[in-house]
């Protein structure tokens, strides 16, 4: 009698466990993507970890496999051009600065938006039949609060506030070839009274921040905060979140650019490569990318602003995200957004290179 009861309890427990497992994986094991290997060109490190924690298991449960081709979008675009559009991946992260390039070429295939129902959480301008917006970064000044207090430097509100002798050699700004390079270069230009065409004031402002370091990957700033090499960095809030999570006393400020502009935004997009033969899997991936699961994790763990409107308000419940990110829609709308179809990026890079060499 005793044994029978025990077996019953175990069997009931297993049944409940099976039901729970089934409920957490709604489309599990339906074999929809049996044998499909989806290659996604995206960022490495904690970004890939977030993808692996939220999207990869769901895809694998449907019989497929995701391979992440990690690297910068610039490097991936270079591969794409070298391969004359034949890409070694199906889906690619695209930076806002690359959007005009993609529009001018024939590298992307049209997205069947009916299969991306989560676009209902996006603003209308955030998706079209070629690309779907995937994230925003808030480019900030991340600074070491303890060091600033120790040196008697007030919390910065503008880039120009960093031009103090105590910070010489202790500031890092993005190299123009890095992911945040162009957006922040524009930030400097506008903040100094210039614009996308008149960039010289921005170059003068950068020069005034003496003995700068230039980072090429945001992760470098986290390491440099840890090693004491820098006290402030112009970097997107996500790297400041990661520095804070690593135990460093940092916080962000969203720099005042002009009277009406505060902060600098950079946008990410996703596109499906023309050469991809896995359109259905690719659009499934995009739909999951903008779903609540990944978007919330990217916001809280990676400090990247979601595009999913439903997730943005929930970020304020996370103490670090609330401190580092601007979650007020009215303030978000005030950030500088560069229209790259109206600027000559090649001129920017050329001017940057000359500035560096003449220093």
């Amino acid at each position: 009698m005793m044994k029978t009861t025990y077996v019953n309890i175990v069997m009931r427990g297993l049944a409940v466990a099976a039901m729970l497992a089934a409920s957490t994986l709604p489309a599990a094991a339906d074999g929809k993507f049996d044998g499909v290997t989806l290659r996604v060109a995206t960022f490495g490190g904690s970004w890939k970890e977030s993808l692996d924690a939220t999207i990869t298991p769901k895809f694998e449960a449907m019989g497929g496999k995701i391979e992440y081709v990690t690297g910068s979008p610039q490097a991936n675009l270079a591969k794409l051009i070298a391969g004359r559009g034949r890409a070694p991946f199906d889906v690619m992260e695209i930076l806002d600065a690359q959007v005009p390039d993609f529009m001018a070429t024939d590298f992307l295939q049209k997205i069947d938006l009916s299969k991306v129902p989560n676009t209902r959480y996006l603003a209308d301008f955030q998706y079209n039949e070629m690309m779907v917006a995937s994230w925003n970064t808030q480019e900030t000044i991340c600074y070491n609060t303890e060091k600033f207090a120790e040196l008697g430097i007030p919390a910065p509100t503008t880039y120009a506030d960093l031009a103090v002798s105590a910070l010489e050699g202790r500031i890092s700004i993005p190299d123009i070839t890095s992911g945040g390079g162009l957006a922040n270069f524009a930030g400097f230009a506008y903040a100094a009274g210039g614009d996308g065409v008149n960039i010289e004031p921005g170059i003068a402002l950068i020069r005034s921040l003496k003995a700068l370091k230039f980072w090429s990957r945001g992760g470098e700033t986290v390491t440099q905060f840890g090693s004491g090499d820098i006290y402030a960095a112009v970097v997107h809030a996500g790297w400041c979140v990661r520095a804070k999570n690593a135990g460093y006393p940092v916080t962000t400020t969203h720099p005042v650019i002009t009277d009406s502009i505060k902060g600098v935004a950079k946008e990410g997009w996703l596109g499906v490569m023309k050469s991809s033969e896995h359109h259905e899997a690719a659009v499934w991936f995009i739909n999951e990318y903008i779903a609540e699961g990944f978007q919330y994790r990217a916001g809280t763990k990676n400090g990247v602003m979601p595009v999913n409107q439903a997730v943005i308000s929930s970020l304020s419940a996370d103490p670090i995200a609330a401190e580092m990110l601007e979650t007020d829609p009215a303030m978000i709308a005030k950030a500088l957004r560069v229209d790259y179809s109206k600027v000559n990026v090649s001129d920017w890079i050329d001017s940057w290179n000359r500035m560096v060499t003449s220093q």
């Binding site: 070839t177 890079i349 290179n353």
Partner: protein, 284 residues
């Protein structure tokens, strides 16, 4: 029956031709067309990229920096590696082989790890800066990251092992009996070095020096990592031109300029050395 050993050259030739000559020819050919963006080039053959490379101060400065840091790294490598090579070559105990093995093994370590070692050593809170400041030698942390000095040190670190190995074989070709003869005739160690060892090592030093110089001229990793985006050598600029701007033609032009500069400097060095030897022969 004659054995055709020369046929063994064919696979190597095909391998080299396909991977090196063919790809470089494509870049070289592309350098004579203007960039139109996104990897596209014009149809009209012209020299505008070369004109820009040779008249624009930015590119000339970059070329000058490349030659300067490579030459300094070469001199540093020779100065540091020659004594090491000499001591090891003259060692009669098994320690010579052990030390030589250590140097060979050190060349196996990837340059990225080596360079990051330097970056850690020179970090603001690293042991070197803490020690310098504790001893009152400096007030503020000293860094080499983002400086030409840093790039030179990185290049020397990259080439030191090769330098020792090359010069070791050079010193080994100098009979020890010559040094003994000089010593018997009353030459001091310094005089013996200047009058016997150095002249006999000169061809090897020049060959080794040029090898190191050529390696430095094409080195990317040390220059990119230790330059910290603030020191542009030609290889760094070529990488940026291709990866960021996708300007294949300009990148091809810069690659051709780099190649021609290296070849010219090698030829000039050999010519100067020959003239010096001829002059010395006349004087003697």
């Amino acid at each position: 029956m004659t054995v055709r050993w020369d046929l063994l050259l064919i696979p190597s030739f095909i391998f080299t031709f396909v991977l090196l000559t063919l790809s470089q020819t494509l870049f070289l050919e592309g350098s004579f067309y203007r960039d139109l963006g996104l990897g596209r080039t014009s149809d009209e053959f012209d020299f505008s990229n070369y004109l820009r490379a040779f008249t624009d101060g930015f590119y000339l400065t970059t070329l000058w920096i490349t030659v300067k840091v490579s030459a300094l790294a070469m001199i540093g490598t020779l100065v540091f590696s020659f004594p090491v090579a000499y001591v090891i070559a003259r060692m009669r105990s098994r320690w010579g082989m052990i030390l030589l093995s250590g140097i060979v093994v050190s060349t196996f370590i990837t340059i990225v790890i080596k360079v990051f070692g330097i970056i850690i050593i020179f970090s603001a809170d690293g042991w070197l800066n803490r020690s310098l400041m504790a001893l009152g030698i400096t007030d503020a942390p000293y860094t080499i990251i983002g400086t030409q000095e840093g790039v030179v040190i990185g290049l020397m670190y990259f080439t030191l092992g090769f330098g020792v190995l090359t010069l070791y074989s050079v010193v080994q070709t100098i009979p020890y009996s010559l040094e003994e003869a000089a010593e018997i005739h009353g030459a001091s160690r310094i005089r013996m070095f200047w009058r016997v060892i150095l002249p006999l090592s000169m061809p090897g030093l020049v060959a080794g020096g040029l090898m190191v110089f050529n390696m430095c001229m094409g080195a990317f990793t040390s220059a990119a990592l230790l330059g910290g985006g603030k020191v542009f050598t030609l290889p760094v600029l070529i990488q940026r031109t291709i990866m960021m701007e996708v300007k294949y033609s300009m990148a091809g032009t810069l690659a051709a300029v780099l190649l021609v500069a290296v070849i010219l400097i090698n030829i000039l060095s050999i010519m100067v050395l020959r003239r010096m030897r001829v002059a010395r022969g006349v004087l003697a």
